[in-house]
């Protein structure tokens, strides 16, 4: 009986496992294998030659290859951290505003917030590159009205990455607001009623009921926001091309430049492996942190 159960479970799982193996695991293993090879992207895999960890030494070395990779890794980390730090609190704030039906304009806000997520990135990039224009951009014109001088936005290595982060937050916050609203609907209203009877004000209700019970939703949002942010590519390719001075050169864009434009497949694969490992470490650390809090 157990054997028959196991056999039918195996048969039912086989299609999904095969598809995952072919389309997910195999490319991942191939990338890991290529990361220890000297290989040009334009040549067959058979032309690859094993060079051990040389590609990894190169990308962490002192030459321009190493400098550019470490710069791109740092830019990606900063971009991801800033995006998550801004998106999560904003999504909770907007979620609360939309969820509280007594706040005027809630429906309009919900529509506006989610509309930004539906706009294609090409359109977002075109519009924001003009909004950020130092000479004729509306943002600088608005700042001028309140006595603030023109900002360089995308034209300065100090502010270019932050400007791309703002663009990302503007586009993504609506999606995460929807997730926050989904989390809020799971919190029983009776808890708030009980807290009110105990004399808890709105701030205390938020701190001791809303936030702890939103933890699982926020963990999910954080993981998705991190993965989305790490994969940033379009605004960099469309607006800044990684500049100025490599300040917006994020890893996905850099890997494309090295692996495809320069056809250095081995080096590009080593960079992709490092990106994958970094992502795994960060997401595992996040889960560990939340699980520890749950245990407490």
């Amino acid at each position: 009986m157990i054997n028959r159960y196991r056999a039918s479970a195996g048969i039912m799982l086989a299609p999904a496992v095969t598809l995952i193996g072919v389309f997910v695991l195999l490319p991942m293993l191939l990338t890991v294998w290529l990361s220890v090879q000297d290989w040009s992207t334009q040549t067959p895999f058979s032309s690859a030659s094993f060079i051990g960890l040389d590609n990894f030494r190169e990308i962490f070395g002192p030459t321009s290859v190493g400098r550019d990779f470490k710069g791109a890794l740092a830019n990606t980390a900063i971009y991801t951290a800033l995006s998550v730090i801004l998106i999560l609190p904003l999504s909770v704030v907007f979620g609360l505003m939309v969820y509280q039906r007594d706040v005027a304009g809630g429906t309009a806000l919900r529509t506006v917030l989610f509309a930004t997520y539906m706009v294609p990135m090409i359109a977002v990039a075109l519009v924001w590159s003009k909004l950020y224009s130092p000479s004729e951009g509306p943002l600088n014109q608005m700042l001028g009205l309140i006595g603030i001088g023109p900002q360089p936005w995308l034209s300065s290595p100090r502010s270019a990455l932050l400007s791309i982060v703002f663009l990302n937050v503007w586009q993504q916050v609506g999606y995460f607001t929807v997730l926050a609203i989904a989390g809020l609907t799971q919190i029983p209203g009776s808890l708030y009623e009980a807290a009110k009877l105990d004399g808890a004000n709105r701030r205390e209700q938020f701190r001791f009921i809303t936030l702890p019970l939103l933890r699982r939703t926020l963990l999910f949002s954080a993981v998705i926001a991190i993965i989305n942010a790490v994969q940033v590519f379009e605004p960099v390719a469309l607006i800044t091309q990684g500049g100025p001075v490599g300040s917006t050169n994020v890893l996905t864009y850099h890997i494309r430049r090295v692996g495809i434009e320069r056809a250095q497949g081995g080096l590009g694969s080593a960079m992709a492996v490092m990106l994958m490992l970094s992502l795994i470490v960060v997401v595992c650390a996040l889960f560990a942190l939340v699980n520890r809090k749950d245990d407490e």
Binding site: S135, S156, P157, G243, P244, V245, R257, A263
Partner: protein, 430 residues
């Protein structure tokens, strides 16, 4: 008669009425370019003209931004379904030929190109003695300046030496009016490296000599120092000179709106300047690159573009592509003895490289803007076409931008540029 028989007869009649030509084997070829929609329309019109005498060949044109051109060629050129024809920058050729993405030209095409184009241009389109592309355009750098701003600043003539250049840049700078003297472009590899290289060769230096980088020369020291001086004096404001993926952005905006006094740019910008400035384009003049303290006379950098054929395309597609390119670049395909390709190029202010095209467009090449470029062509040095050239160019771009934004000194920038170039070119030569 039954319905089935009626249908069969109708089908047979329809087939018999079809034109004979539709039975001929048709060939579809595609042409990948980075040109603007207006220029793509001209190329499509030329393809239609070609189709009149070659109804079995259909040419479709596909355009991508300049920043995506090499990536598209590399990612799609490896298959037979990729673009059949691609317009490429000569710096990319050695590696595309090494990776067997581009096909050598047939003997007939190679013979004609060797006879009809200048030897230097033919050499830039060849690797190991084999011709891989039909050259079409040549670009050269010169100083562009705004005559109206010069007049306001009391400058009577274009600067001829670096001292005059620095002096003019200082006089043209007006911080209160948001005006800079010299626009030093950033965020676009060729846009950053070519003006620097033009100043370097005008100071008697070189980027690469005999396949080895020579950025440690005294002439290069002076060129890096010039950049630092311009930045420190406030005559060049990097934030006013950013470019975007389409090579436009604040750098272009500030020059066309009269906020930048001088730039060093190639001739192909004529169309962008005209559309951005309208009647005020008449204010723009061209002059040779100022000569540095170690230079003898004005020099600048030149580079060429060519059309190549996908080595992985089918034999019929490759043949059709070479035939189309031979027609497009033939003096009979355009107007008044010019090739159709040169007519398209001249619409953008780009200098054609075929000798008969230069002759055919003599009048337009004598315009105030373009004649300044034609005059410096004879003393221009070709940008070094070496394996690893694109990576070298991008690395030098990063170093020059770090200098522009004050992140490194001229001395450190020079040391970094030489060390990086040595490592990149050595690795690529292996």
């Amino acid at each position: 008669m039954s319905v089935a028989w009626t249908s069969k007869l109708a089908l047979a009649a329809s087939l018999a009425l079809l034109p004979v030509t539709s039975w001929a084997q048709s060939v579809n070829i595609s042409y990948l370019t980075h040109w603007s929609p207006e220029t793509v329309a001209l190329l499509e019109a030329a393809a239609k003209d070609y189709a009149k005498t070659n109804p079995d060949v259909s040419v479709t044109v596909r355009a991508v931004p300049f920043g995506d051109l090499l990536t598209t060629l590399r990612s799609q050129g490896g298959g037979s379904d990729g673009p059949t024809i691609g317009g490429i920058y000569d710096l990319w050729l050695p590696e595309l030929a090494r990776d067997k993405l581009v096909a050598p030209a047939p003997d007939a095409v190679a013979g004609e190109v060797k006879d009809a184009w200048p030897a230097g241009v033919v050499s830039a389109a060849s690797v190991g003695g084999k011709l891989y592309g039909i050259p079409n355009e040549i670009d050269v750098y010169a100083l562009n300046y705004n005559k109206a701003l010069f007049k306001q600043a009391g400058i009577t003539a274009a600067p001829k030496t670096w001292d005059e250049f620095k002096d003019a840049a200082k006089k043209l700078t007006n911080k209160d009016a948001g005006q800079q003297g010299f626009g030093m472009i950033n965020s676009w590899a060729a846009g950053v490296v070519h003006p620097f290289a033009s100043l370097l060769v005008s100071n008697g230096g070189d980027l690469v000599k005999d396949g080895k980088p020579v950025l440690d020369s005294s002439q290069a020291t002076e060129a890096f120092q010039l950049y630092e001086d311009l930045i420190k004096s406030g005559a060049s404001v990097p934030a006013m000179a950013t470019a975007d993926a389409n090579t436009t952005g604040p750098f272009l905006d500030n020059f066309v709106s009269g906020k930048t006094g001088m730039i060093i740019m190639a001739n192909w910008w004529e169309s962008a300047l005209k559309s951005g400035m309208g009647d005020k384009f008449a204010d723009i003049a061209t002059a040779p690159i100022p000569v540095g303290p170690s230079g003898d006379k004005p020099h600048s950098i030149s580079y060429s573009w060519m059309t190549v054929v996908n080595a992985n395309a089918g034999a019929a597609e490759q043949k059709a592509a070479w035939d189309f390119l031979a027609w497009l670049n033939n003096p009979k395909s355009g107007k008044n003895g010019a090739s159709a390709m040169s007519d398209i190029l001249m619409s953008m202010g780009i200098l054609p490289s075929r000798l008969s095209d230069i002759e055919a467009h003599k009048d337009k090449l004598g315009s105030e803007f373009l004649s300044g470029y034609v005059s410096v062509l004879a003393d221009a040095k070709p940008f070094p076409v070496v394996p690893g050239g694109q990576e070298f160019s991008e690395s030098l771009q990063q170093t020059l931008e770090a200098l522009q934004y004050g992140q490194v000194s001229a001395k450190d920038a020079q040391a970094t540029a030489q060390a990086d170039a040595t490592s990149i070119l050595e690795r690529a030569a292996k």
